[in-house]
């Protein structure tokens, strides 16, 4: 397992959102974290990435316990976090956005340069000097992923990459995620859309109200109508 999360709990202010999440991602695996809005998917990601002010429990990444490490140190170990709301630097150009994400080369993981990323996301290559704020939602989604890849991660946390995108762009996104998997990256992706998850992932974990309610393959979810009905927005 490249990432192991055990008994992860998290709070926003006084409000506890996560009540002991357990999950794992193996090398080169794509795992979907499913659940509806407010179930705790984004909070789980933020807790793993170290962005939650108050969290508890264990997060092991690449064999090291990172649950007490600051945000930047976790990122430097090769754990990339791609937020749901994209958080593009609107006043920076595409090139500059990528520059912010740049980190030194790391052994054993794919090394990304702007040129390689422009090849993966051809749209971005045509707008290197464009300001982040002047891009469409789909282009921003590509850029936020590319920006995180500049840190040469071994694991990417993708928070709802399909959110708010036209179905057509979502299909492009699915292709890009498959390409990353082919590069050998491990990916934990959160989704509300089971159809999208089915296109990209090997396994799925369903959470609801801050607790894991199901873990297994997508086929097992498909076979279990009750789970779909209760926890997913299908």
């Amino acid at each position: 397992m490249t990432l192991t999360v055990s008994n992860l709990r998290g709070w926003y202010g006084a409000a506890q959102i996560l009540f002991g999440i357990d999950l794992g991602v193996a090398d080169g695996e794509v795992v979907a974290l499913l659940g509806r809005n407010g179930a705790g998917k984004s909070t789980t990601f933020r807790a793993i990435a170290g962005l939650l002010a108050r969290r508890d429990g264990q997060v092991t990444f690449g064999g090291t316990d990172v649950s007490r490490e600051p945000v930047y140190a976790i990122a430097r170990r090769g754990l990339a976090y791609v937020p749901e709301d994209r958080r593009i630097f609107a006043d920076l150009t595409v090139e500059e956005n990528l520059e912010v994400g740049r980190q030194p080369q790391r052994a054993g993981v794919p090394h990304w340069t702007p040129e390689r990323l422009y090849a993966l996301f051809p749209n971005l290559g045509t707008m290197r000097k464009r300001l982040g704020g002047a891009m469409s939602g789909g282009e921003q989604q590509m850029l936020t992923i590319a920006r995180s890849l500049m840190g040469n991660p071994s694991l990417v946390l993708l928070d709802e990459p399909s959110e708010g995108l036209a179905p057509k762009i979502v299909e492009d996104m699915a292709h890009a995620i498959r390409a990353l998997k082919a590069e050998g990256l491990s990916i934990l992706v959160s989704e509300q859309n089971l159809h999208f998850a089915r296109l990209i992932s090997d396994r799925a974990v369903i959470i609801e109200r801050g607790q894991v309610r199901f873990a297994g393959t997508i086929a097992e979810i498909d076979a279990n109508a009750e789970i779909c009905e209760a926890f997913l927005t299908v």
């Binding site: 709070w11 926003y12 202010g13 006084a14 409000a15 506890q16 959102i17 009540f19 990435a49 962005l51 002010a53 600051p70 945000v71 930047y72 140190a73 990122a75 430097r76 976090y81 937020p83 958080r87 630097f89 609107a90 006043d91 920076l92 500059e96 956005n97 520059e99 912010v100 994400g101 740049r102 980190q103 920006r147 995180s148 500049m150 840190g151 109200r209 801050g210 607790q211």
Partner: protein, 624 residues
């Protein structure tokens, strides 16, 4: 004609100095979101240290080396302050950071007096720039020409830094979203320290460059900080280009304004700021601040006092009312002063906690109340109670006018515009000597015989303060109070529910201003005199400190905050010559130890319970 050219060049030189200081403040705010009140203090330290060094090392290298070294030393001090103090409070509410840096300013002012003495110090002339250059028949100091070149040069260097280096790109990114920058593997701690040191370096350099133009003294910090705030707000917080443009505008208006309207030269800058903010609410090159993300509101819903609470409050009030039978006149006078500030602080808290409007100029209404009462006594010969009514009315009228402008803005810009208006009122009181007595103030404002003894005045103050606080609390729980909170919680939802945000906030400001005016009017009678200080920045900040100490999340914690703060400051002034140093240290200490305010301490413990608990079952069936 040539005279105007010379005047224009003087303006440009002034603009360069102003730009150095202002862009430092702007850069620091952009990344750390800290409105650094201590910026003026660092500017002053730059000047003092440069003076000391330049006295010791002569010659061109000695002089210029001194300026640069001074700026570097102060920048290192800044880095120290950032690592030791500010790092602890980045997560505290914005106002606390302002408060901490204000405390720092107080400390530096006293330290400067201890180290360099209270006198004006005049530094050496700059080697190589001692003379003047004749331009169109007018003598222009060559040092001014140097400054004129320096401003754009620094601007250019900063532009290169921000666009051509990785550090600069990271700073610009962090200005927009510092959390995301950290999530991309950037150690923000060093980024923040670097940015803070850079901003302080620019401020200190600005101060150091002044030593051969102007005297160095321990009040230069407050003067420059107010000017700097004005420039930064006109230009747009966080924008270096905006700071450059605004510095030019302000300096040129000053240079020519003094020729055309000598009487209102002090006010001119604030009028420009008010006008700019009304036309462009976020400054010339600024932009709307994104709302702070993911604010989880307190899990405690405000409610009126329980009957047990009421009994406890009544017991305290009775105990306080019995004080005249137990303590001497001096302590009763102190007690009256504290009670007056209880009302002042409660009025500001109504605005801040219920209204969500942070005012930096609340002293305007307090001072207007004081002057209103004094004028009623001196010019109209009115007795105490009608004079109090006059003062209150003037405070209210001031709030009507000032409020009309201010509610067009929000957040930091609202705070700055209130500051600007308070400064305008202050300048009027200061300069309109015929009516207000200017700096000499108005003396002989004594109450009628029935209220003249310290104990009757104490009871009067108690009755007014108690009545005021009770009325304000009643308003909090009235339909209007809910409407005001609705606007504070979500202006979007409030407007979509038919509530007029502006008139609501305007009414809140008028209510707060009226009560502050009442407190001010009473204050005039307590002291028997009124001075422009009652309208000054320090009075406004006193009010802020009281509210923050009391806990901004409470309804009337400021009552406690006012008692503690006022008692402490009166005690310190009587005990030590360095009251600012001690008070500053106390403020800084309190902010670090109790980031929730005194009133927040109890809430802190009770809020630790988890509020989202494991899931009550969903009830979708109950729909439809």
């Amino acid at each position: 004609m040539s005279f105007y050219v010379a005047q224009f060049l003087t303006g440009l030189a002034e603009a360069s100095s102003l730009f150095l200081v202002a862009c430092g403040l702007s850069i620091i705010f952009g990344v750390t979101r800290i409105v650094n009140f201590a910026h003026g203090a660092f500017y002053m330290l730059g000047a003092y240290i440069a003076y000391t060094l330049a006295e010791r090392f002569s010659g061109a290298i000695g002089f210029w080396g001194s300026l640069l070294t001074a700026a570097i030393i102060v920048a290192m001090l800044g880095a120290l302050v950032e690592t030791v103090l500010l790092r602890r409070i980045y997560h505290a509410p914005e106002l606390f950071q302002l408060l901490a840096t204000f405390g720092l300013t107080l400390m530096v002012e006293d330290l400067a007096v201890i180290i360099w003495g209270p006198e004006d110090l005049v530094g050496p002339r700059a080697p190589g720039f001692k003379g003047a250059v004749m331009i169109l028949g007018q003598a222009v100091p060559s040092y001014d020409l140097l400054l004129i070149v320096l401003g754009p040069l620094v601007f250019g260097l900063l532009w290169m830094l921000f666009h051509k280096t990785r550090f600069g790109v990271l700073v610009r990114a962090a200005t927009q979203d510092r959390e995301m920058v950290a999530a991309l593997g950037v150690n923000q701690r060093w980024l923040f320290t670097g940015v803070f040191a850079l901003g302080i370096f620019l401020a200190a350099l600005g101060g150091a460059l002044q030593i051969s133009r102007d005297a160095v003294n321990h009040t230069m910090d407050l003067r420059i900080i107010v000017e700097t705030f004005v420039v930064v707000v006109i230009g747009g917080l966080g924008s270096v280009g905006g700071a450059f443009l605004a510095a030019l505008i302000v300096a040129e208006f000053n240079a020519f304004g003094i020729l055309i309207f000598p009487g209102i030269s002090m006010i001119l800058m604030f009028i420009i700021m008010a006008l700019v903010l009304i036309v462009r609410p976020y400054g010339l090159l600024g932009r709307l601040e994104a709302p702070t993300r993911a604010v989880i509101a307190a899990a405690i819903v405000w409610a009126p006092l329980s009957s047990a609470g009421r009994i406890a409050v009544a017991a305290i009030v009775v105990a306080v009312a019995l004080m005249p039978f137990g303590v001497g006149d001096y302590w009763l006078t102190v007690g009256s002063e504290i009670l007056i500030f209880v009302l002042f602080a409660a009025s500001l808290q109504f605005l801040m906690s219920t209204g969500g409007l942070v005012s930096f100029g609340h002293a305007a209404f307090f001072g207007l109340g004081a002057y209103g009462a004094a004028l009623a006594v001196k010019d109209l010969g009115l007795p105490l109670l009608p004079a109090l009514a006059c003062g209150t009315t003037l405070g209210c009228a001031g709030a009507v006018v000032i409020g009309w402008f201010c509610v067009r803005l929000s957040g930091v810009y609202f705070a700055m515009l209130t500051l600007a208006f308070a400064q305008i009122v202050y300048s009027v009181a200061f300069q309109w000597t015929d009516v207000t007595g200017g700096d000499n103030g108005m003396l002989g404002v004594w109450p009628d015989a029935w209220a003249a003894s310290p104990h009757t005045f104490f009871w009067l103050a108690l009755a007014v303060a108690l009545g005021g606080v009770v009325l304000l609390r009643m308003i909090v729980f009235s339909p209007f109070g809910y409407r005001l909170r609705a606007v504070r919680d979500s202006a979007l939802r409030a407007e979509a529910t038919g509530i007029n945000r502006m008139t609501t906030q305007w009414a809140a400001l008028i209510i707060a201003g009226t009560f502050a005016g009442l407190a001010g009017a009473l204050f005039a009678f307590l002291k028997g005199s009124v001075f422009p200080d009652s309208l000054g920045v320090s009075t406004s900040v006193d009010g802020l400190v009281m509210v923050l100490l009391g806990g901004i999340g409470t309804i009337s914690g400021s009552v406690l905050g006012a008692v503690v703060y006022k008692a402490l400051s009166i005690f310190l002034v009587s005990q030590t010559d360095y009251s600012k140093l001690v008070l500053g240290a106390v403020i800084v200490g309190l902010v670090v130890v109790f980031p929730g305010g005194l009133g927040g301490i109890t809430a802190r413990f009770s809020r630790l319970r988890p509020v989202l608990g494991p899931a009550p079952p969903a009830r979708p069936e109950s729909l439809g």
